[in-house]
Symmetry: C2
Subunit: 270 residues, 2 copies
């Protein structure tokens, strides 16, 4: 038993979809979330910068008593997971591997499609993860860079969104993808339109799978909190105009407890 | 006469459209450009952060001999222009006022429309600038947040782009806008599609107007370089995957001379 909170970080507020998924599966766990909004997006930064930022984000959460670290940022999970695991003594889970494992469980034949931002897809992180986990299937990655701004506009039913989704997804449909892995925190909100185009195939939402594996791991390590209130504390390194509106869309509930914080190295950069 | 370079900064590489416009009007001026790509976008940051970043960007260019500072970043020009002018002894021009002056010259009757990113529009910077310059017209601002990612995708002729542009611009057309001011570095690349929707009205490209006013000011201050080679030196605080491809789309020529640099306060943040 361990009553300390779970620490989750992302470059922005998209990782609140992971918070939502974890809370659904582990309602008694307290969660502290760090969104490094002062330096978002990580996806456009260099590998060195992403690693440095990820270390600082983890340190922030560990300093506040996090018993377990969830890397909800795809860019961080792509390039910094192993380094964070070596550098810190708390267990760490990234947002990539659980979805990959689930996709492999579900897929009996055919191809696996992965959609994400440009950096996630072109980094080859998913290809590597599938290879390491012994995938026998062809993996088709497709970058969908307009999905994030469309979600932030809230244009889920716009005709333009349908055209853009068709443009991005048609090649995967044509290739008879059997399982589609949603490899970006924002994409669960696009599920309806994605399903309209891709039809009755398997879907894997990486955020949900992180919650499932986190629950199993807490059980195994005897680190569950049986009696927590499920409090969510949100720390952001900068507060933009509409972070609350967009954040609550991701979190699926009101953001009650949030504050602006400085990371050690962002103090001079603010 | 002053043979030192003109210093231009932006949060990213979009400001290269300003470089292109300045070079066209002032082919003998050398230009040094700073894109603070490690901390882009400024638009989502707080006012305090944007001011701090803008001071550092200006200092970097002044340290390298800039004789004149052009703030090509709309977020910076919105909130930091006066502070930069007070803090530094070199002349400073922002990307907002020249376009506003030109729009006022062109408009004989009717309304003026301004399109830009959410922060530019909702900051009220354009309304303030129009008011200060004595505008007698109704000013209609419209945020078009999807235009930037569409330009970065290069989807200038996509049907989705047309639908999105229609959605954003139809209200301005319906309101009989007489002059449309393009208030974002990325938007000149959307000109064709904007013209298709808005038709035969006046268009003002802020980047071009900055170049025009800069040329007049250099003349007046006797600071022109009559014999420079028109060299462009590009400094970026981070190099992302596709900065060269997108940058050259904005610059309209190959990016030959670029380097990655650290600003004083970003050294620890990298």
């Amino acid at each position: 038993m361990n009553k300390n909170p779970i620490g989750i970080f992302d470059s922005g507020i998209g990782g609140l979809t992971v918070v939502k998924a974890v809370k659904k599966i582990l309602p008694n766990e307290d969660i502290i979330y760090l969104g490094d909004t002062a330096r978002l997006p990580y996806g456009t930064k260099s590998t060195d910068a992403i690693i440095q930022f990820s270390i600082e984000d983890t340190q922030f959460l560990v300093d506040r008593g996090a018993k377990y670290i969830v890397i909800a940022c795809y860019s961080s999970a792509s390039v910094a997971l192993d380094i964070i695991r070596k550098k810190f003594s708390v267990p760490v889970i990234g947002v990539i591997e659980p979805g990959v494992r689930r996709a492999l469980q579900l897929t009996k034949a055919g191809k696996i499609g992965v959609i994400g931002t440009s950096l996630t897809i072109f980094s080859g992180a998913y290809e590597r993860a599938f290879k390491e986990l012994g995938a026998q299937f062809e993996i088709l990655g497709k970058a969908c860079p307009l999905f994030v701004p469309l979600v932030e506009e809230g244009w889920f039913d716009h005709n333009a969104t349908k055209l853009i989704a068709q443009d991005y997804l048609q090649p995967l449909k044509k290739d008879n993808v059997h399982t589609l892995l949603l490899g970006c925190t924002h994409y669960p909100l696009m599920m309806k339109i994605i399903r309209e185009i891709m039809g009755d195939i398997n879907y894997v939402d990486a955020s949900t799978e992180v919650g499932v594996e986190l629950a199993q791991s807490l059980d195994k390590l005897d680190m569950k909190n049986p009696s927590g209130a499920g409090d969510i504390g949100i720390y952001l390194t900068d507060l933009s105009m509409n972070f609350k509106e967009i954040g609550e869309r991701f979190l699926g509930e009101p953001m009650k407890n949030f504050s602006r914080v400085s990371l050690k190295s962002t103090e001079s950069a603010r």
